[in-house]
């Protein structure tokens, strides 16, 4: 089994996600980019899990199980994140993350 393609895909997806987190101004887009990062990780987990199973060691589902956990937690995280952004919007009529610098030193 070829592992590289999956890892490349995951790396690209991760980079896209990081770029989105760091560069996008829109809070919702930042959250979506976080999702991309998590999914890149999921791909890695599943890919390694499948690779591990292919090495004559019988079926190993721990990669998939881990990925499922991540998906579940990502769902929770995005729920909290969207709630935050909603409240933010209510307060400042904006979801531009650059505007949120209340902790400026």
């Amino acid at each position: 089994m070829l592992l590289n393609q999956f890892l490349f895909l995951a790396a690209i997806l991760f980079c896209v996600g990081v770029y989105g987190v760091l560069a996008r101004r829109n809070g919702v887009m930042v959250l979506m980019s976080v999702e991309l990062i998590l999914n890149a990780v999921n791909i890695n987990l599943v890919a390694f899990g499948a690779y591990h199973s292919s090495l004559d060691q019988g079926l190993d589902v721990s990669g998939q199980v881990f990925a499922l956990f991540v998906i579940a937690i990502a769902a929770a995280e995005v729920g909290v994140g969207l709630a935050l952004i909603l409240l933010l919007y209510r307060n400042s009529r904006s979801i531009d993350v650059d505007d949120i610098d209340l902790m400026k030193g």
Partner: protein, 765 residues
């Protein structure tokens, strides 16, 4: 009890600490109560010890256990064996199951004496003290017992611990129980108990009552420690401690310059002798192989055939320097009469009955050293005996011209100490110790009687202001007379038996009779009768010359007097000569039997009771008393007015009044001669050298301080402190701008950091 004699000085130390720390909060009654209670307990324990010792001597088989082993073995060179036995005793102790516990070591120590058989020591280490006794049933031990029974039964018991080790040197800490130390325990605790009780009334209302009782306790502790010490280092400690207590108690009423001078004089005179003592301790230590300070070891060495005679002689003479000062021997006796400045019970306890005999005890304890070093056995004259003899006569002569009742007694004490030292000098060991014992009782009786007289007669000790007191204070008079008769050595009072033994010992000598000593002793006995008659006459007879009405002292003072007086009558019978032996009942020479050591002790020749001598001395004493009676009571004597008629006598009187000019010799010639040049030299040295050094040190200190302040403190340290502050401030200001509040920027930095670490990881790992 024999292995635990340390308890006795220990208890007195507790008493001292209690009184010292809490005495101020207590009333006089409680303070004296503490002291009396502790000394009474010690007295009881001492009696138990005496009983144990008598038991041990009388029933040797039941109790020899390990001691026999040692006594029988030292055949080949005693010194190495003693050293070896030490090591084994300790090793045995360590091997025991209770390793490390002090009790355990005591048990191990129990066998110590001379013990060298390893089996015996191990057994002692692993069993209870009582259980060691059956060790005698081992076949070897019983055989040995049969052969060495006499040696075994009187061999001392030494409990000891290792204090510290340094290379092959082992310093020990130990307590010895043998006839001599037990005798001293008994004497010291008995007299001390009576003095504690007596002082309760005598010192009633004194400003420093607590101080007095504290030092009395410390003195008892130190003296008991001294007499139970098993090595010379400990003895030195006890010796100095009693000296300190003596100093403190002589100067008890230090507000009076005279008293503090007397205290200083006592202390400094003793220092002179103590230098000799310390050197002597060192010499004997090195002479005996530099392995142990143990007195038995040193004695063993002195008796061994290979002993270095010269070292023993020099060591013995140096030690005798200590004896000369502490036991008031001529010519260092001058401090003792002045020491009477202290409270009278102190004079009785310290400066008559116990501390001053520390020197006699030292000779007795290290007798082999003196015996071999000064060749007592083979000579007909030697240094110790001569000094003792001179002291007898010098002390008695000086006692004639004193008007202070206590000073008469002080010179009498000096004279009697002369007897003890002379007896040791002629080889009459038992006579000396016996005289020490009886003297302690009757001299304490006399001193306490003098205190009672003074208590009655308005606190004066001047006999010119007394007289006729027998009518006012019958109890004091009776006890005083008993003490006096004992001191004069009249049959059958205690003094007779001990003094006679000393004189018989002088006549008998060892290989040659010590004739000179005998003559001096008899002259001293006659003079004792004369000056004591004078004292009795001036104090108790004639008309009362003081003011006020004298009164008898309260019971708390007279009861100790009666006890001591009874002692002065009966204690002499403890060493009845064999001459008086009737039937098979064994009551003669008990003292010699129980007290005289048999281990590491020279073979001395015991003098037999000499009827001629005893009658002779009694006649001499009788003549002396008759002469005194004629002179003082009847006022009809050829000696009356002799001082005015014969110039030589006037001159002699003047010499005596000035105490042989010894004080002048010491203060004016020795001290004065030394102190002028020394003072000038030290003044010059002070001005030129010390002041320069001090001044330049001061200036240097100021300059370096200033330099330190401007350069180091202001620049370096302050710079560091300030730069820390400003550094934190400035870096904070710089870093403040990084905190933008934009989460994305933080995340970017975070990511950059992670990426950076990842790159490092990839490249370097």
């Amino acid at each position: 009890m024999l292995t635990h004699v340390w308890v006795i000085p220990g208890l007195m130390t507790v008493s001292f600490l209690l009184i010292l720390f809490f005495g101020k909060r207590f009333t006089e009654r409680v303070t004296s109560g503490i002291g009396i209670f502790f000394i009474a307990v010690c007295f009881v324990l001492s009696c138990v010890t005496v009983a144990n010792w008598v038991q041990r001597i009388n029933h040797p088989i039941a109790d020899i256990s390990a001691d026999v082993a040692l006594v029988t073995q030292p055949g080949g060179g005693p010194a190495p064996i003693a050293g070896q036995s030490d090591r084994e005793a300790i090793v045995g102790a360590r091997r025991g199951p209770l390793e490390g516990s002090i009790d355990q070591l005591v048990k191990a120590g129990e066998t110590t004496t001379p013990a060298s058989a390893e089996a015996a020591t191990t057994e002692a280490a692993t069993t209870e003290p009582a259980a060691t006794e059956p060790a005698a049933t081992e076949p070897a031990a019983t055989e040995a017992a049969a052969s060495a029974e006499h040696e075994a039964k009187a061999s001392p018991i030494v409990a000891r611990w290792t204090w510290f080790e340094w290379g092959s040197l082992k310093f020990e800490f130990g307590f010895i129980a043998d006839g001599l130390s037990i005798l001293m325990l008994f004497t010291v605790t008995a007299i001390s108990l009576l003095v504690h009780i007596y002082s309760k009334e005598y010192l009633h209302g004194d400003v420093r009552f607590t101080h007095y009782y504290a030092f009395l306790s410390l003195f008892s502790a130190a003296m008991l420690f001294y007499v139970t010490s098993s090595n010379t280092i400990q003895m030195l400690t006890g010796w100095e401690l009693v000296g300190v207590c003596s100093f403190a108690l002589i100067g008890h009423w230090w507000e009076d310059k005279k008293n503090s001078d007397a205290a200083l004089k006592a202390f400094l005179t003793n220092r002179v002798g103590d230098v000799g003592l310390i050197i002597g301790v060192v010499i004997t230590f090195y002479a005996a192989g530099a392995t142990s300070f143990n007195v038995l070891h040193i004695n063993q060495y002195a008796l061994s055939p290979g002993a270095n005679q010269t070292l023993l002689l020099v060591g013995g003479l140096c030690l005798f320097g200590g004896v000369t000062s502490k036991s008031g021997q001529f010519p260092l006796h001058t401090w003792l009469p002045d020491a009477m400045a202290g409270p009278t019970p102190v004079s009785a306890l310290i400066h008559a009955a116990t501390m001053v005999v520390a020197g006699v005890y030292l000779i007795a304890r290290l007798y082999s050293v003196f015996y071999e070093g000064l060749n007592i056995g083979a000579n007909f004259v030697n240094y110790i005996a001569v000094i003792g003899g001179i002291t007898i006569v010098a002390g008695a002569l000086l006692a004639f011209v004193q008007t202070d009742i206590k000073k008469v007694l002080a010179y009498s004490t000096i004279s009697q100490l002369g007897y003890m030292v002379m007896a040791l000098g002629v080889g009459a060991w038992t006579g000396a110790i016996f005289h020490l014992f009886t003297h302690a009782f009757f001299k304490a009786c006399l001193f306490l009687g003098a205190g009672s007289v003074s208590h009655a007669a308005h606190h004066t000790f001047d006999m010119r202001k007394m007289g006729g007191l027998r009518k006012f204070m019958p109890a004091t008079f009776a006890t005083f007379i008993i003490g006096t008769i004992a001191l004069m050595g009249l049959f059958p009072f205690a003094g007779f038996w001990s003094k006679d033994e000393v004189l018989a010992g002088s006549l008998n000598g060892q290989q040659h009779p010590y004739v000179l000593m005998l003559v001096l002793g008899v002259i001293g006995a006659a003079m004792t009768c004369l000056y004591m008659s004078r004292l009795i006459y001036l104090t108790f007879f004639g008309e009362y010359r003081g003011h006020g009405t004298p009164h008898e002292s309260p019971k708390v003072m007279t009861i100790p007097l009666w006890i001591l007086a009874i002692g002065a009558i009966v204690l002499g019978f403890l060493n009845l000569p064999n001459f008086f032996k009737v039937g098979s009942f064994d009551y003669t020479t008990r003292f010699e039997h129980f007290v005289e050591p048999t281990f590491a002790f020279p073979e001395i020749n015991h003098a037999e009771f000499n009827v001629g001598l005893a009658v002779g001395t009694t006649v001499v004493a009788g003549i002396a008393i008759f002469v005194a009676y004629q002179y003082f009571w009847r006022r009809k004597s050829v000696f009356l007015g002799l001082r005015d008629k014969v110039r030589a006598f006037a001159w002699g009187y003047k010499v005596l009044e000035n105490k042989f000019y010894l004080d002048h010799l010491y203060t004016d010639v020795v001290v004065g001669g030394v102190k002028g040049p020394v003072a000038r030299a030290s003044y010059w040295f002070n001005n030129q050298v010390i002041d320069t050094v001090v001044n330049s040190a001061g200036r240097g200190a100021v300059a370096s301080g200033r330099a330190l302040y401007t350069q180091v403190d202001q620049k370096v340290i302050d710079g560091l402190v300030l730069s820390t502050g400003t550094g934190a401030d400035e870096s904070g200001e710089a870093l403040r701008h990084m905190q933008t509040g934009r989460v994305q920027q933080y995340a970017a930095l975070l990511f950059a950091g992670v990426a950076f670490l990842a790159i490092i990881l990839v490249i370097f790992v």
